[in-house]
């Protein structure tokens, strides 16, 4: 006879995973395509048509037109280039500087590490937008200013992870072994430490990208980004704000697009995160 001494394993309910991730991925692919070749999907974002001002969404103008008679859909599609460029570049700056500084902190002696770590703490202590505003004030408004500002403001995410990973790796037996084989310090760091600490960074970067895009839109909304008439998403929100009561589509629809991009990035990022965790466990 058979007896079960413990409860059987609960039957795992399989919900159709992947649908959300697939939708998010498809949306992101479209966004990237729009950023790369906006002309393929939409017309001239700057073509004003005084005869069709503030028209509601229709078959001719999917997202309606703005106060100068420009097609909102065209502007949103072309805006993808500005927003994604700023987001991706800022994330690269943040991840690059973060890895470098985190590695430096993790490898250096007590005092240098303390100094760097307190620096990360200070950066992380401020709200992202506030800090980015400060850096824009120094770097000046515009695309470059935003990239630098957001990059520096979000660098602690990456630096802290890399620093703590570095502490683990530098204690590892294989680092001792590399010493036994006479590896020089730079060689040791490049061959053993760096590759073993940056594992989580790509996943963090995908999630961080959403944050960076949101911050970029926020700063542009405040007038710190690409200047009009450039079709930047945050700037469009800002321009449309004055007509919200009579033409909601000029600001709401670009806002929906920003929201969807950020949510999609989070969905994809979390999925990657889960997969990555499974692999290291």
């Amino acid at each position: 006879m058979t007896i079960a001494l413990d409860r059987p394993l609960p039957v795992r309910i399989r919900r159709p995973r992947g649908v959300g991730v697939a939708l998010a991925g498809a949306f992101l692919a479209f966004a990237v395509a729009a950023a790369a070749l906006p002309g393929l999907f939409a017309g001239d974002p700057l073509a004003a048509d005084p005869r069709h001002v503030l028209e509601a969404p229709s078959a001719a103008h999917w997202f309606g037109t703005d106060q100068l008679g420009r097609d909102v859909f065209d502007r949103v599609v072309h805006g993808a280039r500005h927003s994604l460029t700023i987001g991706i570049a800022a994330t690269l700056v943040a991840a690059g500087l973060g890895v470098l500084l985190g590695l430096l902190a993790g490898l250096s002696h007590k005092y240098a590490d303390e100094a760097l770590s307190r620096g990360f703490d200070a950066l992380a202590a401020f709200p992202l937008l506030l800090l980015a505003l400060l850096f824009v004030a120094v770097a000046g408004p515009g695309t470059m200013g935003l990239i630098v500002a957001i990059g520096i403001a979000t660098l602690p995410h990456y630096a802290r992870v890399v620093r703590s990973q570095t502490f683990v790796v530098r204690q590892a037996g294989y680092v001792t072994q590399a010493v036994a084989f006479g590896d020089s310090r730079p060689r040791l760091v490049l061959r053993h430490v760096l590759p073993n600490v940056i594992g989580p960074i790509p996943v963090l970067a995908v999630i961080g990208l959403g944050e960076a895009i949101l911050a970029a839109a926020g700063l542009s909304f405040l007038g710190m980004g690409p200047q009009p008439p450039s079709p930047e998403w945050g700037a469009m929100l800002s321009e449309g704000r004055g007509y919200l009561s009579i033409a909601w589509w000029t600001s709401i629809l670009p806002g929906v697009v920003v929201t969807l991009v950020v949510i999609s990035l989070t969905v994809v990022g979390r999925r990657l995160h889960r997969r990555f965790e499974g692999r290291t466990a």
């Binding site: 006879m1 058979t2 007896i3 001494l5 037996g173 001792t176 036994a180 006479g182 020089s184």
Partner: protein, 525 residues
């Protein structure tokens, strides 16, 4: 007391099912001490846990007979087991630090057992029954404030609190120092003498031979041989048992092979003599090594000489400073004072940059080979790197008893023994004059340990590589080493040729250590 027939336990693993126990018959009579012996994965722990209804999550147990005190327990649910467990059997596991709740005092832990089972007795008298000194003070302490030995005693106290007639001890002394192990074994022997029934699970035949009346040898989920301890160990019938008994390293096993694996063809790597200026056969000479951390002195005045082709053992209990000596010799940490000379030239006090050209002649093997490999590297890359561009990875692996099929695997995909072989292959690749081995076999099963020890002996014989062999296991050291240094509290208390030190110890600490070692008292063949 317990009678089980055809016990089978399976676990679901992914989509398949793993059979951990495949038809075990077991009878335990009141007042006897039965031991389950086997290597990792033999099913001994699962068998023991199943006896108290703790087979584990998702396990399916089937048996044709399962009686405890004459009662059929086959239909028992979780609630019935809970009632039975504490009052019928106490469980003592290997690691008391994990088994005891870190957020509760030892007294609270034991007190709870008393309360649940409404047992008479009090915490302090239980602690003194297991010989915890100052029991009333210790009862107020947390597990992490106790030493390993005291923790194990506290765990035993909680296991016997409800006065169960049966005590199940799963590797109760494996994590302990040898003198502490001896005390715990004495304590268990004492419980037995007092009429308690004991089920002992162990991989260590010597521990078993000291306590058990009967032994069941398990392999792959089956009992392959059983019988009373003395006659089974003296004349094992099953080839596997014979191999196990043979594999135990000790004084008596010196100079003979422990494993039955064929001697590998001695493909001696083309000899590379010591560099110029090293006519002196001393490979490493350490003088007056001292290392302090703050006010804490870890190593205090250690002198050490290892000559070419010599195996020097460094023994001591945890905290004796033996690993720190290894790090000082290796040059990983600088000594507070004292010097090390390697191959006749200064080694300490040099900039790492100046040491680097000579680094490859001094290699290091650690206890945990898994962490010693970069997780992203395959065996091919690990060995290739060690050979520094020279070919010969396959002969090197064959030399350590591995075949070429491991080349494209990652270390985590290898067994513990295979991993340690890869570590040895890597250490051999640059043809070092000295390999520092820090507990290289402590994490291995007896039969695998035997193979690795044989391999190390072969390497010394064919290559003339010197070994500094650090171990807490006196049997292993006595088997392998030519000379030995006994360390205690950072100092060497005794040193000399191995037979002199181990057969005629001069220092009382050495004597205490040797007395504490459980030995397999059977004729070695």
């Amino acid at each position: 007391m317990i009678s089980v027939r055809d016990l089978r336990v399976t676990f679901p693993v992914g989509r398949t099912v793993v059979e951990a126990v495949r038809g075990v018959d077991l009878d335990i009579a009141a007042g006897e001490c039965v031991a389950l012996v086997g290597e990792s994965g033999s099913g001994k722990s699962v068998t023991a846990r199943t006896l108290v209804g703790l087979a584990g999550r998702g396990a399916t147990v089937s048996t044709s007979r399962f009686e405890i005190d004459g009662k059929d327990v086959r239909g028992y649910g979780e609630r019935d087991w809970k009632r039975l467990r504490g009052s019928f059997a106490g469980l003592v596991l290997q690691d008391a630090l994990v088994s005891l709740d870190p957020l509760r005092t030892v007294g609270a832990e034991i007190g709870e057992v008393l309360r649940i089972h409404k047992a008479p007795g009090d915490v302090v008298s239980l602690l003194s029954a297991v010989h915890v000194p100052e029991p009333s003070r210790r009862a107020k302490q947390y597990p992490h404030q106790l030493s390993g030995g005291l923790r194990q005693r506290a765990l035993i106290a909680s296991a016997i609190a409800a006065g169960p007639p049966l005590l199940i001890a799963d590797e109760p002394t494996t994590a302990l120092d040898v003198t502490v192990q001896a005390q715990i074994l004495d304590l268990l022997a004492e419980r037995r003498a007092a009429g308690e029934t004991l089920l002992l699970i162990s991989h260590d035949l010597a521990v078993v031979s000291r306590l058990a009346d009967r032994v069941l040898v398990m392999k792959d989920g089956r009992v392959i041989e059983s019988g009373d301890t003395a006659s089974l160990l003296a004349a094992p019938a099953h080839p596997y048992t014979r191999e196990l008994v043979r594999a135990v390293p000790s004084a008596a096993s010196r100079g003979r092979r422990l494993s039955s694996t064929a001697v590998p063809d001695s493909v001696a790597l083309d000899a590379e003599g010591p560099p110029e200026g090293a006519a002196d056969s001393v490979v490493i000479r350490a003088e007056g090594l001292r290392k302090t951390y703050g006010r804490h002195t870890v190593v205090d005045g250690v002198d050490l000489v290892v000559r070419r082709g010599e195996i020097v053992g460094l023994v001591g209990e945890s905290g004796s400073g033996k690993t720190t000596v290894a790090q000082l010799v290796f040059g990983l940490v600088p000594p507070t004072s004292g010097t090390v000379a390697f191959e006749g030239a200064p080694w300490t006090g040099l900039k790492e940059r100046r040491r680097r050209p000579r680094r490859r002649r001094l290699q290091f093997i650690s206890q945990d080979p898994l962490s010693a490999f970069d997780p992203r590297w395959t065996v091919r890359r690990i060995v290739g790197e060690a050979l520094a561009g020279k070919s010969g990875a396959v002969p090197l692996l064959e030399r350590v008893g591995l075949s070429a099929d491991v080349l494209d695997r990652y270390p985590r995909q290898l067994s513990g023994g295979q991993r340690q072989r890869v570590a040895i292959a890597r250490a051999l690749a640059p043809r070092p004059s000295l390999i520092i081995c820090d507990e290289p076999v402590s994490a291995l099963d007896v039969s695998v340990q035997a193979q690795v020890l044989d391999l190390l002996a072969d390497i010394r014989a064919t290559d003339g590589t010197a070994l500094l062999f650090i171990s807490h296991d006196l049997g292993v050291v006595h088997h392998l080493a030519d000379r030995v240094l006994v360390m205690r509290d950072g100092s060497v208390v005794e040193s000399g040729p191995i037979d002199d030190v181990f057969h005629h110890p001069q220092h009382e600490y050495t004597r205490a250590l040797l007395d504490a070692v459980p030995t397999l008292e059977v004729s070695q063949r």
